[in-house]
């Protein structure tokens, strides 16, 4: 297991470097520069490029960047927040996105699992129908529709929650964004849990376990749910990254100072360092979560671990 993890970590580092290199290449080919203002003269642009080292060839910039990054320096922003170190932008913005995404994932998964379990156990009853309706709605309605409905209903009409995100009241103002964000997770998890549970519950070994007289609580959580979890974790992993890295639409609607909206403005304004730093963090999180998922597979299903372990020898 240890060897397997070490190998995976090594591969991850190489992958990250490749991602960064491709990113530098793509930014190189992106039209324009951070200094697009039509009021800048060519001489002034040259001064700016020199100041930020953008006059150097792409490969040299790439290695300089990697070197600086190893010491925790992600460079400064060129346009969004002029001359501000990216690390300080991240310090204020990343926790907000992580918190919202984390809340949405946690609540979404728990509610989704419960709904899915109820639907599977009470198959073909009214509970099952309700869950199916919720799932279909959650998957098909975009999150901004929920968000707009919440803003109008709970925020504007009833005034229960603030419409705009307020950094001084992070809990109150995170409720509506969290609900809007977790709807999709609830729907996805509920749907998969229901399908998987129905399959597992109908299998021969479950019949056998039931006939042996194992109590129903133990039967469901020890035997059925555990087997149903694998596909659920598979679909959950990309959702986790997607939510933790901030949603552009939700951030825009609630005016949340997260990193989703930051990336979009950075790309639009050629703010190279911000794009690179955020993409790096996205990749890091994605690779990290995928690693955790693979380890989780092994924990849940020993057969997966054995096969992979054997492959390593």
């Amino acid at each position: 297991m240890k060897k397997y993890i070490l190998k995976r970590v090594a591969i991850s580092i190489v992958t990250l470097l490749v991602i960064l290199l491709v990113l530098f290449l793509m930014l190189e080919f992106m039209p324009g520069s951070p200094f697009n203002d039509e009021k800048l003269t060519a001489a002034q642009k040259a001064i700016l490029n020199k100041k930020y080292g953008l006059d150097k060839p792409m490969l040299i910039r790439f290695f300089n960047y990697i070197k600086a990054m190893l010491s925790g320096d992600f460079g400064v922003s060129y346009t969004i927040s002029k001359n501000t170190p990216i690390t300080s932008l991240l310090q204020t913005r990343l926790p907000i996105s992580l918190r919202l995404g984390g809340q949405a994932i946690l609540i979404g998964t728990v509610i989704g699992l419960i709904l899915g379990l109820i639907a599977a156990i009470k198959h073909n009853t009214i509970f099952d129908t309700i869950t199916t309706v919720i799932s279909v709605l959650g998957v098909s309605l975009p999150s901004y529709v929920f968000a707009m409905a919440l803003i109008y209903g709970l925020g504007f009409r009833l005034k229960w929650f603030p419409i705009l995100y307020d950094v001084k009241k992070p809990f109150d103002s995170s409720i509506m964004p969290t609900i809007s964000l977790c709807m999709f997770t609830i729907a996805t998890v509920a749907r998969f849990t229901r399908t998987e549970m129905l399959e597992v519950l109908g299998s021969d070994y479950m019949l056998l376990a039931e006939s042996k007289g194992i109590n129903s609580f133990r039967l469901i959580f020890r035997h059925a749910l555990r087997n149903a979890l694998i596909p659920i974790i598979t679909v959950l992993a990309p959702l986790v990254v997607g939510l933790m890295t901030g949603s552009l639409v939700i951030e825009k609607l609630f005016s949340i100072p997260g990193i989703g909206s930051l990336l979009v403005s950075a790309i639009q304004s050629n703010d190279y360092n911000v794009v690179v730093a955020l993409t790096f963090i996205y990749s890091l999180m994605y690779i990290g979560i995928m690693l955790i998922v693979d380890i989780l597979y092994g924990v849940i299903d020993p057969r997966i671990r054995l096969v992979k372990g054997a492959g390593n020898e």
Binding site: Q44, P85, P95, Q103, V167, V299
Partner: protein, 561 residues
């Protein structure tokens, strides 16, 4: 069983990680709270503010990019900067320069030396505002190592040696600004600049205290502790790219008695629907409407139209075959109905542009707006356009022409472009217009390199003088996208900038009117409209001054009931 334990352990560690991030979020929240505690108004929520009287809640649609006066380049940053900092001059309600930090000014007879005596004013840390603060800031503006994007404004002001210092040929100490003593600032110009005083109200010329700047180091301008104020307000809550910024009235401001507001809260809201709901909710007092919202609210008593300085126009590339023909350019310029564009498509208070120099931009030596005493040019006239087209067909020996117009990918620009396309194609049979959309940065890049046929573009003014538009069409100017060249025109512009005309404001003013006429008579550009902004302002809020140049909104005299 062991595996179950592992699973449980993993789950709990995940929960732990999540709760840790939640905690760190809380910590930053407490920090911001602490930073604001010495200013009661800012720490209260917006509701309390509304109850407590006059703290104004204003929407921004984009974050502040910098609160360093010599680094900032955008209107949002300029607005906050001028709330908290005051330069030698400010702009009064009618758009004219008014003495601010300067108590008095002496001009030499040749117009080349200005001697300012400063007011007894203090920075918010108690140190007096001195002439050295201006010298330090202006040297930063032209310093190539600072690389200020707005250094060109010092060149426009013609401050002695500015151009050479920016070009790296001279040291910053050679800039024509000297602190004669703590309260006396002497500025030397290379040539007289008639609009020099109004230029000094521009945020790039705001003072910076050297000691404070050096102590703050790289973090200057990034938090309430690293921003010094000598203006009507001071900052109590700010961080880079913040979505909320809080200001309170500065009790040490020299004119504090006149400041009507207790503070200003800025809130960045990029979604116009959310912004309007917050306004209706009472969270905001001032909000900018998007084009599609205008129709819904324009009957409201709180609806206002504000003239902005931007001129939108089509630039024909005269290096492209056919477009060098004056009759063809005239045909194109007259072929589309401008009033339909402003009243049916934009609907935001934009006005028809039959000119190259926008209205409400500059006041002349006669005390009148430039537009008041000049004619209008190139008004839409489809019959005349057809006549010109016939002449052009004969001269060029062709029946048909196809041109591609490049347009940026914003909704309003595309709508306007499509309308112009259909108008030209129906008015001038035989001409086909194709539209190519792209991000603004690509459009600017292609137009600057001459890689286009027609381009729908805009220009915003940098200072209150027609020259901010007119020098664009000088031969060789990088923004003379169409490569038009006229030696008479160049002579007028050069003389008005640095020659004989610069010495005689009244004569210069007449010459600039003539210059505009030359540009229009030659259809160097096809003007389309001057941009208007639609804003909602809560009743009871009064005295906000809106300007189309430099600082967009000034709140010094604003009040809220």
């Amino acid at each position: 069983m062991i595996k179950v334990k592992k699973l449980v352990a993993l789950f709990f560690s995940l929960v732990l990680v999540l709760s840790l991030t939640a905690c760190s979020g809380k910590n930053t929240e407490e920090k911001t709270n602490n930073a604001g505690t010495d200013s009661p108004a800012a720490t209260e929520g917006t509701d309390e503010n509304a109850a407590g009287g006059n703290v104004l809640n204003v929407q921004f649609d984009v974050e502040v990019a910098s609160l360093d006066p010599q680094i900032a380049t955008d209107g949002t940053s300029f607005e906050v900067l001028s709330d908290v900092t005051e330069g030698l001059y400010t702009i009064d309600a009618s758009g004219l320069p008014a003495l601010a930090m300067a108590q008095d000014v002496q001009k030499s007879d040749d117009g080349l030396t200005y001697t300012f005596t400063l007011k007894d004013a203090k920075w918010s840390n108690g140190t007096p505002v001195t002439a050295k603060d201006f010298v330090f800031a202006w040297r930063r503006l032209v310093d190539p190592t600072v690389a200020s994007e707005y250094s060109f404004i010092a060149e426009i002001a013609n401050i002695k040696n500015a151009a050479d210092i920016i070009g790296g040929k001279k040291g910053i100490e050679e800039l024509g600004v000297t602190a004669k003593d703590d309260k006396t600032l002497e500025v030397q110009l290379d040539v007289p600049v008639p609009f020099f005083e109004s230029l000094l109200a521009f945020p790039s010329f705001l003072p910076v205290n050297e000691d404070f700047f050096t102590n703050a180091g790289d973090s200057y301008g990034t938090s309430p502790d690293t921003i010094l104020s000598n203006g009507a307000f001071k900052i109590t809550s700010y961080e880079p790219a913040a979505t909320t910024i809080s200001l309170v009235k500065n009790p040490d401001y020299w004119d504090a008695g006149k400041v009507g507001l207790d503070g200003i809260n800025y809130q960045v809201i990029k979604d116009s629907q959310t912004a309007m709901l917050s306004y209706q909710n009472g969270d905001l007092d001032v909000v900018t409407l998007s084009g599609e919202q205008v129709e819904q609210f324009q009957a409201d008593t709180e609806f206002h139209n504000i003239m902005a300085g931007y001129l939108w126009y089509i630039s024909p590339n005269q290096k492209v075959k056919g477009l060098e023909n004056l009759n063809l350019r005239m045909a194109l310029a007259l072929a589309y109905d401008k009033s339909a564009i402003v009243s049916n498509i934009l609907k935001d208070g934009s006005i028809v542009a039959d000119f190259a120099v926008p209205t409400l931009l500059a006041t002349g030596p006669d005390g009148k707006d430039f537009r008041e005493t000049t004619g209008t040019y190139l008004p839409s006239d489809k019959t005349k356009a057809q006549d010109y087209w016939k002449k052009a067909q004969a001269e060029l020996g062709i029946d048909k022409l196809t041109y591609t117009m490049i347009v940026e990918d914003t909704e309003s620009a595309q709508n306007v472009a499509q309308f112009i396309q259909s108008e030209i194609q129906t008015t001038l049979p035989g001409i086909t217009i194709k539209i190519e959309t792209m991000p603004k940065k690509n459009r600017v890049e292609r137009m600057q390199s001459g890689d286009f046929e027609l381009g729908l573009t805009r220009w915003g003014p940098d200072y209150s003088d027609p020259m901010t538009y007119l020098d664009m069409w000088e031969t060789g100017n990088p923004n003379n996208y169409g490569f038009w060249s006229n030696s008479d025109y160049d002579a007028i512009i050069e003389s008005a900038k640095k020659g004989e005309l610069a010495l005689d404001p009244a004569k210069r003013w007449e010459a600039l009117k003539n210059a505009e006429k030359i540009v229009m008579d030659n259809a160097v550009i096809f003007p389309v409209y001057q941009k208007g902004d639609a804003v909602m302002i809560k009743s009871g809020v009064e005295g906000i001054e809106f300007h189309s140049v430099g600082i967009n909104r000034i709140y010094k005299d604003a009040t809220k009931k």
